[in-house]
């Protein structure tokens, strides 16, 4: 349950991370500036983290 809640909250951060660049002129609309990439980068980092963490856990268990 705790893990589900943590995953839920972090996943919520994927779209919400766009707000970090609103003040820098990013409106979140595609093509309006060069900085509206945070959600995508956040998503890539999040899933890469999940992949590495679980792979390492699996290897330790072996």
């Amino acid at each position: 349950m705790k893990n589900k809640l943590i995953s839920f909250l972090i996943a919520m951060g994927i779209p919400v991370s766009t707000l970090s660049l609103q003040g820098a002129g990013c409106t979140g609309m595609c093509g309006s500036c060069g900085f509206n990439c945070t959600p995508g980068i956040f998503a890539l980092l999040f899933f890469a983290g999940k992949y590495c963490f679980q792979s390492m856990k699996g290897r330790v268990a072996l």
Partner: protein
């Protein structure tokens, strides 16, 4: 007609219904709502903008075609499940079929690394929260938009400059969650708010007993796992020789029922257990 032919025919129908140059659904809906027959594209249907504004109360400020379309979609999901995703959406089907070109040993089976439902719904919750803080995310990270560019590049001849978010959408949709994900529907599973909203509706209507859903006859199931292996959404788990389908990401594509060697999976409201 065989199952696979019917499925592909469904996605081609989706292409004709929702995407330019045809966009028949929007044209008909536009005619009914405004009395005019106009050229339409996938953007006039946009399901993501009304989804984003579901909670902040601004939903009805947006184009009537997209608000009514989202209403139709959710009513369909309430009674029949997310059939739009499983039978009509060409954007989801595109990556699913594309992923078949890559050997399975090179693909990530995300179900082994993470639970899907909390991420799916977390993404939806964040998507609906963003407008409260003055943000808009509907067009950024839109796979419908990107599929439209792919489908209409040659016929319509338009293309837009590759912005950072569009580039990242391509990487996520086509590469990481497309060809290198088992089933090819990682984007549908993790990053599509419209799909998540339909499954949430499907979950609640199933709890209320209204929904038609995929269900396993536990008496018949022999636990062979063929359904779990073939499910493009990775929605099936098999424990104690019994298959279980998750309502949180099953898209009613019917692939599991088609492959089950003992016909233990059915679509319907009542359980078919004998």
């Amino acid at each position: 007609m065989t199952y696979q032919v019917k499925r592909i025919a469904g996605y081609l129908l989706g292409l004709v219904l929702f995407y330019a140059p045809f966009a028949l659904f929007q044209k008909i809906l536009g005619f009914l709502l405004k009395g005019k027959w106009q050229e339409q594209t996938i953007h006039s249907l946009c399901l993501r903008i009304p989804t984003e504004h579901l909670l902040d109360g601004r939903i009805f400020q947006y184009a009537s075609i997209s608000v009514v379309s989202l209403g139709i979609l959710l009513i369909a999901a309430f009674f029949f499940g997310p059939v739009f995703c499983g039978r009509l959406c060409p954007a989801g089907a595109f990556t699913e079929y594309l992923s078949k070109l890559v050997p399975e040993r090179l693909q990530i089976d995300w179900i082994k690394y993470t639970e899907i439902a909390p991420i799916r719904y977390g993404m939806l919750a964040g998507f609906c929260l963003v407008p409260f803080f003055g943000g808009i995310l509907a067009c950024a990270y839109c796979n419908f938009f990107l599929f439209d560019l792919v489908a209409n590049y040659y016929s319509q001849g338009y293309f837009i400059s590759l912005s950072s978010s569009l580039l990242l959408t391509s990487i996520l949709w086509l590469v990481v969650f497309g060809i290198f994900t088992k089933g090819g529907r990682g984007y549908c599973n993790f990053l599509c708010p419209v799909g998540a909203l339909q499954n949430l509706t499907h979950y609640f209507s199933s709890r209320l007993g209204f929904a038609q859903k995929m269900q396993v006859d536990e008496q018949q199931c022999i636990g062979c796992k063929q359904c779990a292996t073939t499910c493009p959404m990775r929605a099936i788990t098999v424990q104690d020789k019994r298959a279980k389908i998750s309502l949180h990401n099953c898209i009613i594509c019917g692939q599991c029922a088609h492959i089950c060697p003992v016909q233990a999976i059915h679509y319907g409201r009542k359980c078919h257990e004998k």
